[in-house]
Symmetry: C2
Subunit: 432 residues, 2 copies
Amino acid sequence: MDHTKILLDENEMPKQWYNILADLPVEPPLNPATNEPMNPADLEPIFAKELINQEISSKKYIDIPEEIREIYTLWRPSPLHRAHRLEKVLGTPAKIYYKNESVSPAGSHKPNTAIAQAYYNMKEGTERITTETGAGQWGSALSLCCNYFDIECKVYMVSSSFYQKPYRKSLINLWGAKVVPSPSPDTQFGRKIREMYPDTTGSLGIAISEAIEDAALNDNTKYALGSVLNHTSLHQTVVGLETQAQFDKTEDYPDIVIGCCGGGSNLAGVSLPYIRDNLAGKTNTRFIAVEPSACPTLTAGEFKYDFGDMAQMTPLLKMYTLGSEFIPPAIHAGGLRYHGASPIISKLVADGIMEATSYHQVEVFDAAVTFARSEGIAPAPESAHAIKCAIDEALKCKQTGEEKTILFNLSGHGHFDMGSYDKYFSGELSNE
Amino acid sequence: MDHTKILLDENEMPKQWYNILADLPVEPPLNPATNEPMNPADLEPIFAKELINQEISSKKYIDIPEEIREIYTLWRPSPLHRAHRLEKVLGTPAKIYYKNESVSPAGSHKPNTAIAQAYYNMKEGTERITTETGAGQWGSALSLCCNYFDIECKVYMVSSSFYQKPYRKSLINLWGAKVVPSPSPDTQFGRKIREMYPDTTGSLGIAISEAIEDAALNDNTKYALGSVLNHTSLHQTVVGLETQAQFDKTEDYPDIVIGCCGGGSNLAGVSLPYIRDNLAGKTNTRFIAVEPSACPTLTAGEFKYDFGDMAQMTPLLKMYTLGSEFIPPAIHAGGLRYHGASPIISKLVADGIMEATSYHQVEVFDAAVTFARSEGIAPAPESAHAIKCAIDEALKCKQTGEEKTILFNLSGHGHFDMGSYDKYFSGELSNE
């Protein structure tokens, strides 16, 4: 019987993260007041020092501390699945693999960096962490992980998701964190936005501003970001590194690596170790970033310095952006509603190392249903973007007869997105 | 680093189910019209023949067909976790292990028998299957599995769960089945109950009657039951057999095996292979069935012949029962709201081979939160009954200093039960 899942023993889990900055430096964040590169020390009021070090490190490998590895083993190494049933339904000669990051307790890849961020903050004595969350994946992951180090956690959740996904906030509560819809009355910026746009469904840009303001104004409080920044991509490389160890147990190697892209962390996680091998001239893998047509950062944005948040409190980041004031429609892939993209992913796209494509949400849900009825798992709407692209690439193989190996990251399950599926089935989903 | 999860390769997955009837026959079902043992042929209008054969088989091992094993590999073998973090929180010398059946696409152990039932029905040409579901775990599992064999599926979902767990029905829809709240207007019996008890929250007994009536009256339609019957326990033994292969990779062997009990299938699954070894005189393991105080079948019911459903359409089963007209309160562990218990589990309890205990739902949710904050996973309220008992046994070890090995079955996750957690946290949960 052909294997369906390629597993690793816990001893085979990577002991280091891969830092692509050693092989491909990105342009530094700028201080908006001076347009000069940020002084890392200026970030210390809101970030743990070790995370700032990692943000700018040029060391190629960074050790994963033992305590983080121990918590990783609650769900890691995650399985790599061969999608035999999906292949059969499509009638494709392609081999489709997916890395199943939905097996974490929070249901996505997000705890990979949440644990690391909570750990380094604990080490430096942080007692409280604030953050924002789009779909709720990141907020629940950080809540889970702060719980392990007795750190208080407050989550500003984008209003559209807060109401679309009521049970994501229950999960946040279960792990002991506090969660409010953003814009909230709890911050100065939140109050201002509520006054200016009483009907707003919120955005990640707004929620980030609120969480940063809260961290900046409160004692012993730091801020944590679930994506975009270099250190989040660093921590996520455990995903791609594991898949490499898993492919070593097969006869296959991916010709194409696919991930959905909001801020870019799951895509970075699955792809950076393969990009390392491309940069070293060892391989010639294709990489595809998949985003929603409703928030087409990489496919229709501009590559320039811009703020990461709407209140313009962050440093300027060199990235693809739709403008920091862009408020995307309330599509159901809440985790992909971000005006920017990580500087690393942006540079990869700008340099032609990575391709980018976009899909409308109805075709994405079509793909999600095809996947759920073949592979079983109900995918998150975010991850379904990667599924749609993998299906399209597999169908191209069907036409050409090529037996390509396609890898995509199943970044999360859709157990807290069933309201969106209900709308899809009742035909209420708009094709934004 | 001590392992957190003990994994099996797909090649190590059991190739046969264990049939306890070979070692411990139970009393036969009776025809209520005659009080004589049922003629198996009388069950053919509603069950696939091979399932009837398995129901009464005295063969000790039954081969798992290759097509079923292939579908099992979508999520099986499931991990056996060592609950290091829970042990630390409790400060117990006990070793706590749990089998993680929440990893199936439907989120519970239920697909283990759903696949088998769908498969044998497909082999015999069944085009449509009806069933009932309590918490929705079984209904979603059968929906998933009928989908793999192109069998139409209709689910009668106990009304209290239908409204408490809206997204379980979305999951049922996602995999292509139809679902209605029971009592429904779609059957004669449903209409009768709606008239007699307009405010009823339903019960498994009612829903079973509806599903059987539908199967009996419609062409090429069979009925499927997710628990209680011998063949469901048979298929679930894959759970316990896997844990035995997993314990073989450790230095440990369970002193106590614990499972929550509604109809009894997950408890049977995890415990029967160990009971086999006790019966053979090889081991001296303790077994504990855990039920809700609100539906105390094993701890307060009577061991006698009774109907499996409220309309008294089923054969008479020798089991512990609260009476087939018993409607339990709408507690949140919907999967444990059954007036009876499987004849196998009932006999084990009556013979003193298995103990039974019960808990109120608030203390069960307390245990669920302790588990979620240590092990990460948000458990189903049903499974939390087993967790509560495992915690209590571990705390006894703390007092006595004994290093017992405790195994419980984490039969499912609570991702579709977050409304119940919300009520728990807001103090709205009654201690029924």
